[in-house]
Amino acid sequence: MKVGQARTPKLTRGRERVYMQGYAENDTIAAISTPLGEGGIGIVRISGPRALEIASRLFRDPSGKRHRTLKPWGLRYGIVVDPETGEEIDEALASAMPAPHSFTREDVVEFSCHGGIGPLSRVLDAVLKCGARLAQPGEFTRRAFLSGRIDLAQAEAVIEIVRARTDSARRLALANLRGGLSAAVVSIRDDVVALLAELEAAVDFPEDDVGEPDHAAITRQARETASRLRGLAARARCGRVYRDGVTVAIVGRPNVGKSSLLNALLGRSRAIVTDVPGTTRDAVEDWTNMRGVPVRLVDTAGLRETDDPVERLGVERTRERLDEADLAIVVIDGSEPLSDGDVAVLRRASGKGGAVALNKSDLPPKVSESDVVPHAAGMPVVRVSAKAGAGIGSLEGTIARLAVGRVAGVSEGMVMATARQQEALERAAAALDEAARGVDGGAPLDLAAIDIREALFWLDQITGRSASDEVLDKIFSEFCIGK
């Protein structure tokens, strides 16, 4: 991967966009990467395009007189000085790792100092004075993820711990959703542990009075648990909207203000706007964020019956875009009476679902909500002005709400899950079905246990526990063992 790409990752997926919010990725960041006050060696880490330059400005040879230039892969001993006063701060070892071979795939310099809060934070201060920005919690990891250095699961895990300690605001915002998943999984997992304990007690203590497990009961329990997991997976799919986002096609007759609306929703001029109908020929798209839901907006060519072959092609493409999208925004020019063309677009979009934007509300209205509703097939109608910015927030709220409800097919009991967690839920359910199938087909108990353990393995990928000891605890608390 080239360095330039590492710094400005291509935005192709909604979830990356979520991670990106609020962070410019091309500046140079620094932080103490050892817990403060732990003594021993402490590390100040600098990452970004200016890392080498900043480090070289602060770093002197052991006599404290000459600047030391850091070379890639070099490990050098020297003294860190205050860039303004030249005062010596601490002796340190500096190591430089050039892009793309570092953890973040950016240029990275680390000063290993003596540790302790005093010297470490003074070294950090010096680095910040030279123009680095204090890293946000988890930001090194986020950069590593964004540069493709580590995968999402790894990044999430690290970020979540770092956040849990320091970024409580964000954590609280997500606590509801996250807690929902792990609480649900933990309770299902307890049932799986109990099921396994019953098998294992019979297998490990054949001479004790623990009783033979009931094969029919085992298959029933395994199947029930599998279906609960599938239900959870469905609810989690819903939460995933927040990570993976939705695609929304903006459709309507020519000149009703689709491109203007796209620009208004994006907050910048992305598509060309003119008063000539048929301006947009090729779809224009970009990502935005509506109430935390990543939304890919697609502005399309206006829909109308036409003989112009070029325009017809554009219309055809718009239809494809609409089919691919999760939702539609049907734009209607409210300053003109409702036309057959508008009704045709509404009819076409009604299968998809979405919202109706009654645009140009800054002009005298010629269309009322009640004119639209009969043709809108339940789509909510929102009055907006793309030009004046009125009603844009309300439209965003409507789309976000629809996105969460629609993509997953449910809107109640939503839980947040990553793609990885989603997969774990589905694999756990499959393993339990496998166990039930096995027992039904006459497989011995110790083999059924393999599948049940597999289910636990996948659930543990979500809960972060390890099951082996718990199964034993369960055996000893439930069964009287001991010859």
């Binding site: 490990l75 895990a157 490990d204 110790d446 972060g464």
Partner: protein, 631 residues
């Protein structure tokens, strides 16, 4: 021997000490085995039984690696049974009642005959440590310092042993010999942490005083194999065991006397095993149960004494008397020796490396109950491994470590050194996540090659092993390669053995995978099959019948191996790695896992911590390579 009295000193002559000393000697090292008494070598102070789920597999593995326990029990059993036959291929387990007198006597004979091995009765009071901090020998009360290049401590429950019977308690080892007080202090002084555990035994009664007509008979079985791959089947003339039950009256007596039970008065502080609770614990914890099993097990052939399995207790002797008499068939039983609880010190097993060498004192190894385990089989397994590694150590070779996916022995030692244990550790099949591949029938296929490589398996035995392995492989190949047609003729034969007709031609191997088909039944449509020994048929049948599950398990092993192969440097400063929880930092600093896989098994280390470690290992790779100063 360069000023050494022996290459290796083994302290303790229990099951761990015996295997350790034999392994060292068989690998060609000179060994001095120090024991408190000659008669108590290879003794069985608790249940006179060997094997059972998880434990049988250990014994088979010891045998496959060239150890002695399996052959010793095969020569001295009173009764042998195969447990769990209906519960699946992974958990079928042999269990034997031992003639404890004959067992010890035979083992002593084996020790006596071993060249390179000397046994000496001595009381070890300390460990000699050289200027470099590594073990150089021991100090005995009888003759002062005794020198060796490595020392294996296998002192069982003798360290700081205290016996409790009711309100009486005294310092003692399990066999009436004095407890080893000084040695415990000496180990503590070396910086090794100790924990206090407790275990119990049941009363023994005179056989003549028991009325077995009120009990259920438990017979042994005539089986085509024993514990060792080298011995044949079991004999028909086996001793009987008997099963009876406690009564509500028994429970009343126990409840009325809890005030005199050291477990409940606070006199015993050590942690006891949950899988082997005393009868008083069972009565208190499961008040709803109306009866508990009591097994009468003979201790010797034609002997006078029976062990009351299930009645482990440390109640006062007079209460034990009353309690025993309340059990049907034991109304007039004469107690020869009351049950007792023994508290003892053991090493915190996380002090050990996977080689069973202590982390703090190079050259000092520990094996057996002193490492916090219980059970003869667990002890013997560790003895074997400690013996092997002591020899490898003095020869400057890499340690011998079995993976969890290779052997129950690997599971046992990995659990101990990675997780530690908060109660005496006993092996169970559920501790082995890959138990379908760790069966008793394939222990030699898994390990005998390694045992031979170590010099523990003699050539003629190795030849027999190779022959057996060839038979197994050839037969599997033959069955998977032999195709039967899907014609009417075949359908008729299949119907005769109770299975559905074929849609298309199918291999015999695939037919065997059908639940209702067995190797034996398949004979009808497999006229050309060779005549094979039972033990070969058994492996072949399991491997083919459960091929799908075995494949699944292999996948799981592969998945785990990816983490096992990510090695962690020995001297990581876990406090400097970003993203680890405090608990993970503490545990990782203490245990110093070899790999990310091992780190993941430490309790208190979460997947999130593992991700942080992975990130560290990834980024550290570059730093490590280029660090001229070793930072």
């Amino acid at each position: 021997m360069g000023g050494h009295d022996a290459d290796i000193i083994v302290v303790g002559g229990g099951h761990a000490g015996c295997e350790a000393a034999l392994a060292c000697a068989r690998m060609g090292a000179s060994v001095l085995l120090l024991t408190l008494g000659w008669d108590t070598v290879a003794a069985m102070p608790c249940n006179p039984s060997i094997g059972g789920p998880g434990k049988a597999q250990l014994v088979r593995e010891i045998d496959a690696l060239g150890g002695e326990m399996a052959r010793n029990i095969d020569a001295t059993y009173l009764q042998m049974r195969l447990l769990n036959t209906g519960k699946g291929p992974a958990v079928r387990s042999l269990r034997a009642q031992a003639d404890k007198a004959a067992y010890g006597a035979r083992m002593r004979e084996v020790l006596r005959r071993e060249r390179n091995l000397a046994v000496e009765v001595a009381h070890v009071v300390g460990v000699e440590v050289g200027a470099d901090g590594s073990a150089r020998g021991v100090v005995t009360r009888e003759r002062g310092p005794v020198r060796a290049a490595a020392v294996i401590i296998a002192t069982g429950t003798y360290l700081g042993g205290t016996i409790h019977v009711g309100d009486r308690s005294w310092s003692s080892g399990p066999q009436g010999q004095p407890a080893a007080e000084e040695l415990g202090h000496a180990l503590a002084k070396l910086g090794l942490r100790l924990a206090r555990f407790k275990t119990g035994t049941s009363p023994r009664v005179r056989k003549d005083s028991v009325d077995v007509s009120k009990m259920q008979e438990q017979r042994g079985e005539v089986l085509p194999f024993g514990f060792s791959f080298e011995t044949g089947g079991t004999r028909p003339d086996q001793e009987l065991c008997w099963l009876t039950y406690t009564t509500p009256r028994t429970h009343e007596i126990i409840r009325a006397n809890l005030g005199r039970a050291p477990l409940y008065t606070g006199a015993i502080t050590g942690r006891g095993p949950r899988y082997c609770p005393s009868i008083e614990t069972k009565v208190v914890q499961f008040p709803a149960r109306e009866r508990h099993q009591v097994f009468l097990e003979p201790e010797t052939r034609n002997g006078d004494v029976m062990y009351l399995g299930g009645l482990s207790t440390s109640l006062p002797a007079d209460v034990q008397e009353e309690m025993v008499h309340s059990v049907p068939g034991l109304e007039d039983a004469e107690i020869v020796r009351p049950g007792y609880a023994i508290e003892y010190d053991c090493l915190v097993p996380t002090e050990l490396l996977p080689s069973l060498e202590t982390k703090k004192v190079p050259g000092l190894f520990a094996a057996g109950q002193i490492n916090g385990t219980s059970g003869y089989e667990e002890a013997a397994s560790q003895g074997l491994i400690a013996g092997i590694n002591a020899v490898l150590k003095i020869r400057g070779k890499e340690p011998f470590v079995l993976e969890r996916s290779e052997a129950y022995i690997g599971v046992l030692i990995d659990d101990l050194v990675t997780k530690g244990t908060c109660e005496p550790y006993r092996m169970m099949t559920s501790r082995a996540e890959y138990r379908l591949t760790l069966r008793q029938d394939n222990a030699d296929l898994r390990l005998t090659e390694k045992g031979h490589g170590l010099g523990l398996v003699p050539e003629e035995r190795y030849e027999r092993f190779l022959a057996r392995r060839r038979l197994v492989r050839d037969e599997i190949e033959r069955l998977t390669g032999t195709v039967v047609p899907g014609d009417a003729e075949t359908a008729r034969m299949l119907a005769a053995i109770g299975t559905a007709p074929l849609q298309a031609e199918t291999s015999l191997g695939d037919l065997l995978a059908r639940p209702e088909v067995t190797y034996e039944k398949l004979a009808a449509i497999d006229p050309g099959r060779p005549v094979l020994p039972q033990d070969v048929v058994q492996v072949v049948e399991i491997e083919l019948k459960y091929a799908g599950y075995i494949r699944k398990q292999r996948g799981q092993i592969e998945r785990a191996r990816r983490l096992e192969s990510r090695l962690l440097p020995l001297h990581v400063d876990y406090w400097s790695i970003a993203g680890l929880s405090r608990e993970a930092r503490e545990k990782l600093s203490d245990i110093r896992p070899r790999s990310i896989g091992q780190a993941a098994r430490i309790s208190g280390v979460s997947p999130a911590d593992i991700m942080a470690l992975l990130a560290y290992v990834e980024s550290g790779r570059h730093r490590g390579e280029d660090s001229e100063l070793g930072v």
